[in-house]
Symmetry: C2
Subunit: 328 residues, 2 copies
């Protein structure tokens, strides 16, 4: 059904209905109610295409992340996606997931183009800076979630990576581990760099020497691999501050297979508190990151940016929470 058809039924003009449906002023409450009632009865809804053609106001929110095919990302993906969708549900915006396996966001051959987007949420680390900068040049508001760019001023929502890493490291020190190693992923990722800084802060404060092992990725498998590369011996009484839970769980698994006792021979901390962390054996000491809250904050801030395109970029930082279990 079209506006015109409905208007004929109601003996009003299409514009009147349009005004009611767009909450425009200057309509008598009597007609307004009559229209609203009829809309409800008939289940009428405005045609997106026609509407967008007339106003050229974009109605989509693009959620962008890089798919890495790994399992460790799926929980974060799911939880933050759910927050975005919930936030924009029944708003005038529709979320669309634009995550790609490649390094570029590419609309060719796609029904949508950049001009259909009111804003973008860019999730996570594994995106080249160049790609984000290209996106920025479109002029569409962008907010980064779990990332931050030093190259340019972009709104972003991150957790207090550095502080949390500091706290975790300090916890290992307090537990009395002799040598404390940090195992991390690519240093091109913002949060890895921050966590390294927090680790070093804590060691420096305690007068200990730092040792960092960087892996190519941050999966369960690279966690296992890290154990093999490290070749720990029990006398070292090692404390491991892992950059995330998935790696920590892989590390724990291999340590157990090699006959190491956790936490007595080696202590391990994770980062994120994914649902499986408490089910690891032994249950993983880690830091809870409030990803749902962060997702909601990102969506809310993006909405502000859309409504007020001139607002200056801000940083939103969400604290974490250390959760001590039996792996330390």
């Amino acid at each position: 059904m079209t506006l015109k058809e409905l208007s004929e039924q109601l003996n009003v003009s299409p514009s009147t209905i349009s005004r009611v449906l767009n909450d425009k002023p200057g309509i008598s409450s009597k007609t307004r109610e009559k229209v609203l009632e009829a809309v409800k009865q008939t289940g009428f809804s405005l045609n997106y295409a026609a509407r967008n053609l007339a106003t050229s106001e974009p109605r989509f929110i693009g959620i962008i992340g890089r798919k890495r095919g790994g399992q460790q990302d799926s929980i974060f993906f799911h939880h933050s996606m759910a927050q975005f969708e919930e936030y924009f549900e029944h708003s005038e915006y529709q979320c669309v997931n634009l995550s790609v396996y490649k390094e570029e966001v590419d609309f060719t051959g796609t029904p949508l183009s950049v001009s259909d987007f009111a804003g973008f949420i860019v999730r996570g680390q594994s995106f080249p800076v160049r790609t984000i900068l290209t996106l920025k040049q479109t002029g569409v508001p962008i907010i980064l979630l779990e990332n931050k760019l030093s190259e340019t001023n972009l709104d972003h929502v991150v957790c207090e990576d550095r502080q949390i890493a500091f706290d975790l490291t300090k916890h290992l020190i307090d537990r009395g581990y002799k040598k404390i190693v940090h195992i991390t992923g690519p240093e091109s990722w913002y949060n890895n760099r921050e966590r390294i800084a927090g680790y070093i802060d804590a060691l420096t404060q305690a007068g200990l020497k730092s040792e960092i092992l960087s892996m190519e990725d941050t999966t369960v498998d690279t966690g296992s691999e890290a154990f093999e590369r490290l070749q720990p011996n029990k006398l070292e009484h090692l404390g491991i501050m892992m950059v995330n839970d998935a790696m920590a769980i892989g590390f724990l698994d291999t340590a157990r297979k090699r006959g190491f006792l956790v936490p007595s021979d080696i202590g391990v901390t994770g980062f994120d508190d994914i649902p499986w962390a408490r089910l690891a054996y032994p249950p993983l000491t880690t830091a809870r990151v409030f990803i749902e809250q962060m997702g909601k904050l990102a969506a809310g801030r993006l909405m502000q940016m859309i409504e007020d395109p001139d607002s200056r970029p801000i940083a939103i930082r969400v604290p974490g929470e250390i959760i001590i279990r039996e792996s330390t």
Copy 2:
């Protein structure tokens, strides 16, 4: 840039460019190439809204599932979503996730309406039949993934739930467990019913008595709870055929805490082979379900249905693969 603007640059009419871009016949290869070249140069792309308004051809694929807030769903969600998106990437269609917490799909207040959708993929179990039937009445092609409706003939992609459940149960019998219990979720879910059938098939064949415990949900927590409800004793030499991995992992965790040895006191099998199954302690015997492949099949079949709306509904069934680890 608009078609008209581009046409002025090129000294051809808008219709000509439109024809080229839509692969219509009746264009000299010279003009065709000239246009294609200019489009590439300028990065021009057709306006979705205008295009849709003119053709009224829907360009969206709706992915529908019910969000349950649990973690156990996220891996399946992520993996199948990734397959849909990959399949429709650079097609004329755009995937949109319409998953909801409620029981209805509701477009009110949303920029999109039913008429924007070329097809729907309905994922998983936790949707009332009524909702799916309502959706069906729109006339838009629908395919069910990991579900099947006896109420009506709908295309669907499922795994061989019954056969796999049979194989898992048989494995427990072969391992010599005395009493074999099946722990499942709501019987309103298609795959739970199928798995129960497979379990009973195997027990009947072996001349054993069945015992089924149904829980409200199929999460890690309900897995733990199932252990408490069952109150096993070691003399029973129990084999547990769990309806999924998450529950099995919860069960294992609690069993260990209560001092039970797996697999000697109790044997446990999962279902799905989620990435965490091999990391459970002990590593979980389970059945691998090829969710990526199933997602791709669903997308492909939906595409066929869109192209040929009269094709008769079919069932696609994908076998699983038993993976024996140390929990049995």
